[in-house]
């Protein structure tokens, strides 16, 4: 690539080589950015930039049409006295509690059962079956379960013929049940994913540790408690963090199955943000809720980063 060097002009040659060297150094510095910039620019343009704009919007009374004026902390004051926000927060916390326990224990338990199967084909068939619901679009999952919950066509008809009248409920229309019914549908398509991750983590545990524990006379239960679980700790912490983040952002099945109803019984923060921004034409207020939610979540992420810095193997 270097330009051919002419003879008989020493000064010129020196000037040119330094020019080439500078260009080369520039190129060495710039090459990595040539690879990184397309992805980074798209991401900043779509997600990073608009997220920052939301932060500023949360201090305005913008209604989506005319430019809003700066209203200081008014949106945040409104948020504190908004009973729907309070209801949504409680629902998100309930959702988090459900998803930190049921799918994780189900996923881990089934991963343990499956990994003790010696026959590889049988293992693979189970794994495939349990993961299958996760490949289905949330719209279909939502409609399918709404239909199963339907009091006239759904599972209730089956319960009636079996005489299980206690289980004949309007699962989505009852304010006491709606949130749990949606959570059940979401769990149905979610725990298989956790099972796959736990299965991979179990394959990575060192079998010699278990042998050592057995030689030391540990029972299998103790061996599970003192060897298997600690070796799964990084995976468990990581999944716990993901669960918290996703539980606070949950919207799709709520959107499809209940839209937050009946009477806000299944309202979540993301659903409320969407309703405020899109149906209620108050993106300024919606931004304030979104910013507060994100700040709350970033505490968990910061805690995670802090623990990692302290040398925790998480």
């Amino acid at each position: 690539m270097a330009a051919p060097v002419e003879l008989g002009a020493p000064n010129l040659i020196r000037a040119r080589t330094t020019g080439v060297a500078r260009r080369r150094r520039w190129r060495r510095r710039a090459t990595p950015w040539f690879f990184i910039l397309p992805a980074l620019l798209i991401h900043v343009f779509v997600i990073g930039g608009p997220s920052v704009v939301t932060f500023f919007l949360s201090f305005t009374s913008w209604n989506g049409f005319t430019f809003g004026k700066f209203v200081g902390l008014d949106n945040f004051h409104q948020l504190l006295s908004d009973t729907t926000v309070r209801q949504a927060l409680v629902n998100n916390l309930t959702w988090t509690a459900i998803f930190l326990t049921i799918p994780i224990s189900l996923g881990l338990g089934v991963a343990l059962l499956i990994s003790s199967i010696r026959n590889g084909t049988v293992q693979m068939i189970y794994r495939t079956i349990f993961y299958l619901p996760a490949t289905i679009s949330s719209v279909v999952v939502g409609r399918l379960w709404a239909w199963i919950y339907d009091p006239f066509y759904g599972i209730s008809t089956l319960f009636t013929t079996w005489g299980l009248t206690g289980l004949v409920q309007s699962w989505l229309a009852d304010p006491n049940l709606a949130l749990y019914s949606v959570a059940n549908a979401d769990n149905w398509r979610w725990w298989g994913y956790l099972m796959i991750i736990f299965l991979a983590a179990l394959h990575n545990t060192d079998p010699t540790l278990h042998e050592a524990a057995a030689i030391d006379g540990a029972s299998r239960l103790r061996s599970f408690w003192h060897v298997t679980l600690p070796s799964l700790r990084p995976t468990l912490v990581f999944i716990g963090l993901l669960t918290i983040i996703w539980s606070f952002q949950v919207i799709d099945l709520i959107f499809i199955m209940t839209q937050g109803g009946p009477a806000n019984a299944s309202m979540t923060l993301s659903m409320w943000i969407y309703q405020q921004a899109v149906y209620n034409y108050s993106p300024g207020y919606a931004s304030a809720i979104a910013v507060t939610m994100t700040l709350g979540l970033s505490f968990f992420i910061a805690g995670f980063v802090y623990l990692r810095h302290k040398g925790w193997d998480v």
Binding site: P32, F35, I42, L132, V139, S219, T228, F248, S270
Partner: protein, 291 residues
């Protein structure tokens, strides 16, 4: 190094599992019950999609009263799936291709060079990985409105690409770290440019990583709903998931057509998963388990 007594081949007890879990009599019934709950709703959907509307309404749990394949054609026509499938295929394949290209380039840049500033990029990707979609939806909508990208396939494609890039970059990065550098150096000595090294050495060697990313991103783009319904308001631009939602919202009384529409929507993703599940699972675990 294992201790001789405990490596007597197949009869070695598996100490990873407590006794009660190894008990075969409990294990298989339990797994079969769970497998039934996982399969049952899908089976119900597929079974009812070939039943007549009256048969579904009389008893959704009865066996088919015949093969009502006309449900599928009537669902396809009523839901206006022809343009929707075209749109979904364009969006999905475009997203998969560009996420693999840009994500692969970004991962390569992050693993193969050490220049100040790269750590900040990794940190940025890690932080924004967990940003809620509802945080940036409103300004993005205004921006897309001003750029006339609402109701365009490239508009929704750019959003999906941005949303999937951090995941793809992280997964491919873990792939590239394991590739031997000697091959790249050999290519450089032979006169390859940096991009040539990426295209001729890295891409062919790490195709399993790209296959996993492509599958996961593809199924995500095929299924995505919230952004699609917000950014694609007019019927002729909508993807299959939005058309399905709109159709089943309008025609909830026609259960035969709406179950058939659901079956049509889920079958492509499910078949691709069943055919390529090994690659798929490898991708999920590489992205989910941090070693």
């Amino acid at each position: 190094m294992s201790i001789p007594i405990h490596s007597e081949g197949r009869h070695r007890p598996d100490h990873r599992h407590p006794d009660w879990l190894n008990a075969g009599w409990l294990k298989h019934p339990l797994l079969l019950v769970l497998a039934f709950t996982a399969i049952f709703p899908i089976g119900l959907l597929l079974m009812n999609s070939i039943k007549s509307d009256t048969a579904i309404k009389v008893n959704a749990f009865s066996l088919p009263d015949g093969w009502h394949w006309e449900n599928f054609s009537s669902a396809w026509n009523q839901a206006d799936y022809t343009p929707a499938f075209k749109n979904s295929i364009i969006v999905t394949s475009g997203t998969v291709f560009l996420v693999c290209l840009f994500g692969g380039m970004c991962a390569y840049g992050l693993t193969r060079f050490s220049v100040p500033g790269l750590n900040i990029v990794v940190f940025y990707l890690f932080i924004t990985f967990s940003l809620p979609g509802l945080l940036y939806l409103v300004p993005l909508f205004v921006l897309w409105h001003n750029l006339h990208l609402i109701d365009t396939l490239q508009g929704i494609m750019i959003i999906y690409i941005a949303q999937q890039l951090p995941f793809a970059t992280m997964l491919l990065r873990s792939f590239f770290v394991g590739l031997p550098r000697e091959l790249e150096d050999a290519a450089r000595v032979d006169g390859c440019t940096e991009f040539g090294v990426f295209r001729r050495v890295i891409l062919p060697l790490s195709w399993p990583g790209f296959a996993s990313v492509g599958l996961i991103v593809g199924i995500f783009s095929w299924n995505e709903f919230i952004f699609a319904i917000t950014f694609l308001p007019s019927q002729e631009m909508q993807t299959v998931s939005v058309r399905y939602a709109a159709f089943t919202g309008q025609y909830t009384q026609d259960l035969a057509a709406s179950t058939a529409a659901g079956a049509i929507m889920i079958l492509p993703a499910m078949v691709i998963f069943l055919l390529l599940q090994k690659r798929f699972v490898a991708g999920i675990t590489a992205g989910g388990v941090r070693g």
